[in-house]
């Protein structure tokens, strides 16, 4: 893998090639391998190695970026020239700040926020995973499927990756990480079940257990029955919660407030959700992944986003924080400070929190306890094809998938045909009756988070599909 020393050498070469006032170089890439299976067969099996160098130049308020995956002298010369040519034709932007130096990047982040170190997220055993080892894991999963007379599909992947940032004011940031992931679908004749997990440490994954749980869901949801759509109590497993709530975090951004595209416009400081909801962004959490710095190299800080139902603050890139301080919104948004959540520049989106952690509730309940306390309701394994219907009321639509069950008198009774939902996140997070201990969860509709399972009343299903 590309080393920090090699990257520093490339940065020096780029700096010498540039005539810009300031230069910033991002490095990314690594190895990625994925074994994919379906119909109890490995049908796709890939490995990839790629490294990218991305150069941003700045000339007095004008900036632009060019990117290549070639590191020879001619390619570096070309990428520097491309960046400079793009930058020089820009109109000067009064909001563009000088690049941060090491001291600024370390962060003074305002009330309630903390800048801290993250634990190591690189595990040699994950980086050393071979195609044979992944095939062995798949073989175990297929064995479970065959034992239950089911058909399985899924993935087993492993990766090691790097992110680095250097700038001409002396800033150097470097992060390496590994990640392994297993996702399993079990298919019956008229039903399915699903489980997914990932971790920087492949030793934390248990393909066999995931396969057994997915198989049990497929078996238990066989011969699904149809019940009418309508408002009902739902028990959302953590992946289903993640699939939904992920759609609101783009709005926890200073830039989104300035653009008036956030559903939090005019709502910061208000009790928007139930008092049992507390959420923070925390890259240091032991179940989180990712680099401890943002697209400009600023340290990511822990930021409280929702406290006891009240929206407390949003995150900021450096330039967004400065713009907010001079805006009409400045007295209505709580603490304003760069929090280390900016995307690489130039961009039009600003920033967003990517390391979401829900607080553990006062009286956590397991999913089984939630089921036991439910007279009539629906248990949901995961969601699918979630899209935003209304951006200010945060109404989402989407489908349930791969294990939807009817709960009656405290017990799972049978599988159900899948529902279409049209539900407001504001409404949903105001109606949470119980939560589990949050855990690292991953789905397909949003990024990985530390989220609980939730029991929610009056959840709005509007239609039923044919399976």
């Amino acid at each position: 893998m590309l080393t920090q020393e090699q990257a520093a050498d490339i940065f020096d070469r780029i700096r010498k090639l540039s005539t810009a006032d300031e230069v910033e170089v991002l490095f990314s890439g690594g190895h990625f391998a994925l074994t994919r299976f379906a119909n109890n067969t490995i049908h796709q099996n890939i490995a990839e190695e790629n490294y990218i160098v991305s150069v941003r130049t700045a000339f007095g308020g004008r900036t632009a970026r060019a990117t290549t995956n070639k590191f020879d002298e001619e390619s570096l010369r070309r990428v520097v020239k491309a960046s400079e040519d793009l930058a020089k034709v820009q109109h000067p932007d009064a909001d563009l700040l000088p690049m941060p130096d090491t001291r600024e990047a370390a962060g003074d982040v305002g009330e309630g926020a903390r800048a801290t170190q993250v634990p190591s997220r690189y595990f040699a055993e994950t980086a050393a995973v071979t195609p044979e080892l992944r095939a062995e894991g798949v073989k175990q999963i297929v064995g479970v499927a065959q034992r239950h007379k089911l058909t399985t599909a899924g993935v087993f992947s492993s990766a090691d990756s790097l992110e680095g940032i250097f700038n001409s004011r002396g800033l150097q940031q470097w992060h390496t990480q590994t990640l392994a992931e297993v996702s399993v679908t079990m298919l019956g004749e008229d039903s399915s079940g699903w489980q997914k997990a990932n971790s920087p440490n492949v030793g934390n994954l248990n393909p066999l257990l995931l396969a057994e749980v997915a198989a049990r869901k497929a078996i238990d949801s066989a011969r699904p029955r149809e019940i009418p759509a309508g408002k009902c109590t739902v028990i959302l497993e953590p992946a289903a919660v993640l699939d939904l709530v992920g759609f609101m975090f783009w709005d926890y951004s200073g830039m989104a407030i300035l653009d008036q595209r956030s559903f939090l416009t005019g709502r910061i400081g208000t009790g928007l959700f139930g008092e049992n909801i507390t959420i923070r962004d925390d890259v240091t959490h032991p179940l989180q992944t990712g680099s401890p710095f943002d697209g400009e190299g600023m340290r990511r800080c822990t930021v409280p986003l929702v406290e006891n139902g009240k929206v407390s603050r949003v995150v900021y890139a450096r330039a967004t924080a400065e713009r907010m301080k001079g805006s009409e919104h400045k007295d209505k948004v709580g603490t304003i400070a760069a929090t280390g959540h900016g995307f690489s520049l130039p961009n039009e989106m600003g920033e967003m929190p990517l390391n979401i952690v829900f607080a553990t509730p006062d009286n956590p309940q397991t999913v089984d306890q939630m089921i036991a306390s439910t007279e009539r309701g629906v248990l949901v394994t995961r969601m699918w094809y979630i899209r935003e219907v209304d951006p200010f009321e945060k109404i989402l639509t989407g489908m349930t998938r791969d294990g939807t069950f009817y709960v009656e008198n405290g017990r799972v009774k049978h599988g159900l045909r899948n529902f279409r939902l049209n539900e407001s996140l504001i409404h949903m997070l105001s109606n949470v009756e119980a939560m589990s201990v949050p855990l690292r969860s991953c789905g397909e509709e949003s990024f990985d988070m530390v989220v609980p399972a939730m029991k929610v009343k009056d959840f709005n299903f509007t239609e039923v599909t044919k399976f």
């Binding site: 490995i42 099996n45 490995a47 039009e348 899209r387 219907v389 639509t397 791969d402 279409r420 599909t465």
Partner: protein, 488 residues
């Protein structure tokens, strides 16, 4: 690049591959955006690399690398073979490839103006002019514009003797005006939402789109939506404009006909399909007016699904998908063709960039226009009680592609053949085959547009691909309207 291909094929076949191919790809892209009078992002990117597919012991292996040195290329070929051997540990049967005659060819997207030859300053001036038009309308709180240019040059060489050099261009442009007031955010986009219109063309597309000329109207509509009534809920005849119908085709025809989905290969992520193999040439997919083709040929038009050859060297083809309402064809590949009794691939295997595995992707999945002359105005004039819906705002469909729901940016109520009022937040929902069987009118060729969807996601790891969808405004009878806002 022939020497690179030879290194790959020599290593792969020497180590036991019964089939191997390689793609060497050089990509270049430019993305420019503005937001509220300022450049939002300005970036150029290039990416060069190679990949190898190999069949060993009846199973697939794939490896990709950004380094084109002989040592790296040979190591990558060896890795693909090693991976294929691991794949063979878990298989039910050997991979079978439909025969394909080897070909040597050179193909380039027809284009008039190389988009990279247009100065960045000229591009930014155009975007800022549009931005200025949008923000000249009182009530617009956010204006966004974008221009995108892509060029991809690929060398494909296989162990069967195929040798293809192909260069594809695509261009995209669009803009969006937002109006925030009270407790509502409304928006209008042009020519389409989520990035505008995209085609496999050069800069001439930008000149055809009349971007500046439409900006003021679009902004005025975004503001006017705040004063419009909520779209009524109930059962209506609906008319979809061609861009919304293009997305309807994408979701409720294009994805379910992908044979890899049908065969369960995408079950863990994208899902499966209601179009099981027993339905071929038996299912009445739509009304007799519905004729859909999957056409990758240049004569269909400059869609994002237009090419000379797919990414396993199969020439572009036209496959009838729905013929007079009857379901007649799937999207297939060399590996899957035999499952539907075909002796040859339909030529739909494509990959994003050099580092991804080719998979079945939509080409240009188009609803053919009506044969009798019919304009949108004439279609509305023949509608007693309906809603015209324009420009997609939200889209969702289940993982077998039965139940869908779409929201649009703007609606117009039609009464007694006249467009009587603007309505906001229109949405409709239904079941795929019931919906297509309710179609009773399609506008004619002069209303037909070949839309580009640049952001179709599929696969693990997920790949993004451009697809084309030709459509003319069409009418559907007795459709459920307004579920998206039901009880909220």
């Amino acid at each position: 690049m022939k020497h690179v291909a030879n290194w790959v094929l020599n290593v792969a076949t020497t180590r036991g591959a019964t089939y191997a191919d390689t793609r060497i790809v050089a990509q270049r892209s430019r993305a420019l955006t503005t937001k509220n009078g300022k450049v939002g992002s300005a970036s150029d990117a290039e990416s060069v690399g190679m990949s190898v597919r190999a069949i060993v012991d009846g199973a697939w292996g794939f490896a990709a690398c950004d380094n084109l040195s002989r040592a790296a290329v040979e190591a990558t070929a060896a890795r693909a073979v090693e991976i294929a051997r691991a794949s063979a540990q878990v298989k039910q049967q050997d991979v079978r490839l439909a025969p394909e005659k080897p070909v040597s060819a050179d193909w380039t997207t027809p284009h008039e103006v190389d988009p990279f030859a247009i100065s960045v300053a000229q591009n930014i001036d155009l975007l800022l002019k549009i931005d200025s038009e949008l923000r000249a309308v009182a009530g617009i709180t956010l204006a966004e514009t974008n221009l995108n240019f892509n060029r991809e040059e690929q060398w494909f060489v296989s162990s069967e003797g195929t040798d293809i050099h192909q260069t594809k261009y695509s261009t995209g442009a669009g803009y969006c005006a937002y109006a925030f007031a009270g407790n509502e955010i409304q928006k209008r986009s042009y020519p389409n939402s989520y990035g505008g219109q995209w085609q496999n063309k050069g800069y001439e597309l930008i000149e055809e789109l009349k971007l500046v000329e439409n900006a003021r109207r679009i902004a005025e509509e975004a503001v006017a939506l705040h004063h419009a009534d909520q779209c009524p809920e109930g059962t209506f005849d609906i008319i979809l404009d061609s861009s919304q119908l293009g997305l309807q085709i994408h979701e409720s025809v294009g994805h379910p006909i992908e044979l890899d989905r049908v065969l369960g290969m995408e079950a863990n992520f994208a899902g499966t399909s209601f179009l099981t193999l027993d339905k071929l040439r038996k299912l009445q997919y739509g009304s007799e007016l519905v004729n859909v083709v999957a056409d990758a040929r240049q004569e269909h038009g400059p869609g994002l699904g237009t090419f000379g050859f797919d990414d396993e060297g199969v020439p572009a083809q036209c496959t009838p998908i729905i013929t007079n309402g009857l379901f007649t064809g799937y999207l297939s590949s060399r590996e899957t063709a035999h499952t539907i009794g075909e002796g040859r691939s339909g030529g739909t295997l494509r990959a994003e960039g050099w580092n991804h595995l080719p998979m079945i992707r939509m080409t240009n999945i188009s609803l053919l226009p009506g044969e009798k002359p019919l304009s949108l105005e004439q279609l509305m004039a023949s509608t007693d009680r309906g809603i015209l819906m324009q420009t997609n705002r939200s889209w969702s469909i289940d993982d077998k592609r039965y139940n869908f729901q779409f929201g649009c940016e703007i609606g117009w109520e039609i009464k007694n053949g006249k467009r009587v009022r603007m309505v906001k937040n229109p949405s409709y929902s239904g079941i795929t085959t019931e919906f297509w069987n309710s179609l009773d009118a399609i506008c004619s060729r002069n209303e037909w547009t070949l839309w580009g969807t640049p952001n179709c996601g599929k696969g693990q790891p997920q790949q993004v691909m451009g697809t084309g969808h030709g459509a003319a405004p069409s009418r559907f009878r007795g459709i459920k309207v307004g579920s998206a806002y039901k009880s909220m």
